[in-house]
Symmetry: C2
Subunit: 368 residues, 2 copies
Amino acid sequence: MSEVYAVRRGLLRDRYAAAGSAAALVSRPANVRYLAGAAPPGAVLLLGPREDVLLCPRAPSDHSVHGSPDEQLRLSILPDPAGDPVVAAAGLALSSDAGSLSVEENDLTVARHRAMLSVAPGLRLADLGLAVQQLRIVKDEEELACLRIAAEITDHALGELLESILVGRTERHLALELERRLVDHGADGPAFPTSVGTGPNSGRGRHRPSDRRVEEGDFLSVCLGANYRGYRCEIGRTFVIGTSPADWQIDLYDLVFAAQRGAREALVPGAAYRDVDRAARQLLDSAGHSEGLQPATGHGVGLEIDEDPQLAPTAMGKLDACVPVTVEPGVHLPGRGGVRIDDTLVVRPEADGGPELLTITTKELLAL
Amino acid sequence: MSEVYAVRRGLLRDRYAAAGSAAALVSRPANVRYLAGAAPPGAVLLLGPREDVLLCPRAPSDHSVHGSPDEQLRLSILPDPAGDPVVAAAGLALSSDAGSLSVEENDLTVARHRAMLSVAPGLRLADLGLAVQQLRIVKDEEELACLRIAAEITDHALGELLESILVGRTERHLALELERRLVDHGADGPAFPTSVGTGPNSGRGRHRPSDRRVEEGDFLSVCLGANYRGYRCEIGRTFVIGTSPADWQIDLYDLVFAAQRGAREALVPGAAYRDVDRAARQLLDSAGHSEGLQPATGHGVGLEIDEDPQLAPTAMGKLDACVPVTVEPGVHLPGRGGVRIDDTLVVRPEADGGPELLTITTKELLAL
């Protein structure tokens, strides 16, 4: 397993060497984890001209959930509890005659950047940009296996909730119960704060659970996901509470379902990100719901719950095979509620059977 | 209540005006909330020469838990879903002839800072430093009231756990149950990830709960806190499982208890931060536990769980009245476990009865 990280670091090295840097500093935690196998809190990774070093702040850290760093890396713990690992890295890069160091300008604050320059005035700081995020888009089989397990855990947690009595319970309690069930089934934790929306709150993206209780006739939307070994997936479903849904509920559900299916079917290698978005958005637009749609129909998932690519109207780029994404259109009618349907899928060529659906809970409109 | 925010913004304005800026941009979420009454995800606050504006990214945001922004603020929602509010703020500052804009260099990334300069090349960007964090150190009565409620909720959640059967349950389950109880008692959520450590894991700072089960004879350490209207407190206790603690457990407990009491008693207005730390650290050092002590004995709490002041050996500054802090020394013996005792207190003059203890759960060594 350790070789995986060395290979990833090698790919990154090719990128910044081509841009004229002899060394790079990775500070975004998910990027550190991707390249080092673990990301102790506050740790940064220096890829140097002579050696690669994981620099950790001096504090009792606990790696039990984060995994262990790659053994090929030197681990350096800062002597000063107030020390900043990026400043130490700048000193190290200077003393190893790196000359130029690429840093993640999207992650480093102006204050830390200044502090690096002041300890290493001879060092030229370049921008690594989103190079690591770009490497992370296409997943290897090990990563996809983690996502499959995360999705399985998520489906289990949701399935159990559907078997319990829901009327009278608050959104907060349902959300907490879902999170407990995720952990019961082996998740390291929730992938993101679980969202439960009832009645007028249903169908809203990332709704924060309130004290509203489930009532007969409500739409109930849930959105949850497991974090398994750092890999995060997402599922969203909308149900109706009571024996038979109202006509407007059936119509809205059918519409969102059709939009979601359209986008799922557009997931083929080579498809433009914006075309996947359009497959869902066009249908919702032409049904008169253009106001209040989410800015994206879906997004990549992996070590972060919202990563590249963005499936959005202005996104540039095309899908590759082995890219896991969400497809999650929704419509919310102010005061009435709405529907969101959200799956995590892996892009696969048609010859391999097309997109691989990871979250397999039914998308029929269930009356609970 | 709205006036509170205007007064805070006025105090900040005095600070950056004295430093020669006509406008300031606040981006750190806790700072935005402190000055605007609410911090929708991604929102930033521009304090301009003519008006104050809360700039929000274009995304369905849900303010139900965050509270409502101060009505004296203009609310501006960006038209472009991909737009960055700090860039929009730079344009606005330029068009209002601000000349110089103070920004939070401790929060802004290098990439966002560059993007601001590129849309507003005539604007001079200065550093606001930690001006808002400094305003936040001393709390008003409204803030202290929120912290008192947060502590009350926390004590309730912990008290209920102590009445339940613990042997055989995993650290993860106990942590999840504590978090559920926090919400049951009215918390908006946990103030930070709840820590539960058993046996060899006990006494570690910020230990992440594992699948280890509680056994007879274990030390059990818990650390939890409620978030109530954004205000966060912290309590940590260590218990022993079974009928009678071993001698080493009693000795270690007594030592940490004495260290914690020493630091609590040192909490008087005018005391140097480092002297509070020393009151606890000296005792643990001279008992031979200098290795592995946490870098700080305590820290401020408020809208963030770890804010200024730091009660640490190299910290500069002195305590004021109405500053809430934690006092949380601990000792961990590798392979055996340890003890941590953690309270949240408010610094008060001796004439007012000395430090106000918010977390009142007993600190006797309970055998559960």
